[in-house]
Symmetry: C2
Subunit: 432 residues, 2 copies
Amino acid sequence: MKEVGLGILGFGTVGAGVVEGLQKNGDLLAERTGLRLALRAIADVDLERDRGVSVDRSILTQDAAAVVEDPSIDVVVELIGGTTVARDLTLKALALGKPVVTANKALLAEYGDEIYDAARKHGADLFFEASVGGGIPIIRALREGLAGNRITQICGILNGTCNYILTRMEDDLLPFDQVLAEAQEAGYAEAEPSLDVDGLDTAHKAVVLAAQAFGCSVRMSDVLLEGIRDIDAMDIEYASELGYRIKLLAVLKAGDAAIEVRVHPALVPHGHMLASVGGVYNAVLVTGDVVGETLYYGRGAGREPTASAVIGDIADAARNRAAQTPGRVPAFVPLQDTPALRPTDAVRTRYYLRLSLKDAPGMFGHVADILGAHGISIASVVQKEVRSGEYVPVVILTHQAEEGAFHAALREIDALPEVGAPTVRYRIEDFD
Amino acid sequence: MKEVGLGILGFGTVGAGVVEGLQKNGDLLAERTGLRLALRAIADVDLERDRGVSVDRSILTQDAAAVVEDPSIDVVVELIGGTTVARDLTLKALALGKPVVTANKALLAEYGDEIYDAARKHGADLFFEASVGGGIPIIRALREGLAGNRITQICGILNGTCNYILTRMEDDLLPFDQVLAEAQEAGYAEAEPSLDVDGLDTAHKAVVLAAQAFGCSVRMSDVLLEGIRDIDAMDIEYASELGYRIKLLAVLKAGDAAIEVRVHPALVPHGHMLASVGGVYNAVLVTGDVVGETLYYGRGAGREPTASAVIGDIADAARNRAAQTPGRVPAFVPLQDTPALRPTDAVRTRYYLRLSLKDAPGMFGHVADILGAHGISIASVVQKEVRSGEYVPVVILTHQAEEGAFHAALREIDALPEVGAPTVRYRIEDFD
């Protein structure tokens, strides 16, 4: 049986998971692919730490560049993460015409243009299923299964840590800080949580998805980005009473006139499938102009699910390497008629607003007048019980209007002397 | 740009959808694949009927065999359906080394061994994404995305007609016959509905999935098969009160000792994602030994979703044809160590039982004794209000036991003089 030599760069959690998966299902993979996937080198700075898998010590090395250059290595698996060393080694491998399998969303989001271009120029394969949605084969679905579709919308829950935190806040009525602390203890959140909770990781994944779905290059700075750090359990409770759950969503839309790529907490109706995605799970709703709505669900992170995606890519890369058909499905296909990004102010959504109003006659009329003057119409209003102090929480669900109108209206509203605190606002996604 | 010639056999609903999709997104497909997919022939017995798409009449023909043989046709798209003409033409195309794209689950379920073998022998590609789950790219997920996994379980809602009927029965508390009649009027069910409602279509799809997931050849006669025709709205209501929804499921399990392939109505807990799949949608829950649980959801039938899957396959077939790499991913990979099918009597599940008992002292004790004697323990019992006559409906949820034990116990129970009607029984799937 033909052998394909693998070199893994980065022997961390995912790297160990990949080694374990290859050991466990090596024979199965050989039957399925007709190829023997031979692990020939693992590079890491730390060669001593116990990863819970046994490997022949002779394949361990600290010299990652040598692994990339080694002629017996046919497929390079980049699991170092980050955008420095990983970028250099990925570019080096591609320049040698070697296929690269990576789980690195930050690298693709920050340096996608350069990396995709290197793959194209050198006729080398680049696979990155594990970069979005953990074990869910979403990249493959977009670039092959749904190839006959113009993708019009993607809505995804793409960060397991955030979804775990929001699920626990709702289930146990706990504040963000407490749930985060517990998640950190349980290993569901990093000690430095900002990549997750400020939405950066989700934005990285949104940029990767936008390239696949829309054939366009979106910069991180173009993504409308809000995280979950400031979410008050009170709003989760009010949203629930109104029939919504708050989720951190990546929302990608492609209309005739413009595309949108945004990451923010949003109210999702209880009856919608995305609302029922709990805990560390991820889900991606993809709408195509032929297929309609499809949804993909699974564990979005962690050693095994990520390893599953990496190994699926390794099998694909090995098949192409053995058949000498690299670039069979290009890593990135720029599409001709992709419209430009919609300016943030022109994005249209519905809003959940929670105002702190002094309980004085006529107050609500002032607010309604300001909203109306900016073209924002009100769908429903609920005045809640006073929780503390002299200010009453008033929750307004609006109809659709433009972001710019909301910003202008809320500036005026928050300047009213009878408003006790900045208005809390979350977008509503109804999936109509 | 390189052209790949397409010939479509069967210009029915799906055929017209494929033509429409190719016309709508032909340029997009050319950008994505680097190939021009050129529709060169459409064969059908009826050349006059209006399909709602405009095609050059010169490519229409009644001679399907000539299309298969035409050297300008590189990819054959079989959308005739059935297992007679479709079988001959598929085998003819494969014998010529031409790739075949098909949506034909009946053909693969009945003659899979022959068809897969012909593809292998002649080194020709066979793609059949559209045969299961409509537009959901589930075949691709199994054979590529999850290639690194041993698949341990698949549970699917695979027939949109049945799911529509069951959803309406529950939502509107209507009897089966009325909902079926309305579904037939609305075009959601065939005039001859038995392929759908008796579970045959779902069983065809289960057999196709078993081949992909377990690498084994399952015969239709091996599938434990029950349809939804006899479901009483009363049981849907009782199940709902107990926290379950009744769905027609395909259940495939692969343990160390045996595999199971069964199709039957089953109680699914309300909180489970499969319970929230309503109307004509399909969903497939796939569990792999590395990835864990993943789920795939979308419209399971109809012109556009099926066309989406067919076009994705055409793109794949065209790529392989252009790169001269047929058989890159084989249609079927028999796996060495797949265990044998578990005998039906040895299948273990939980059961929902509805007994019709005369309201006499000690009656329930008799029933419990019989169940106990067969090793079946009771999880809960609800005695319902008498609906009509002298018999009381008593609903029992059991713990797990073997099919054989249930059959023996129910034979004894139903022979009791105080039992007014055969006991109604449905399996419970808890997904533990």
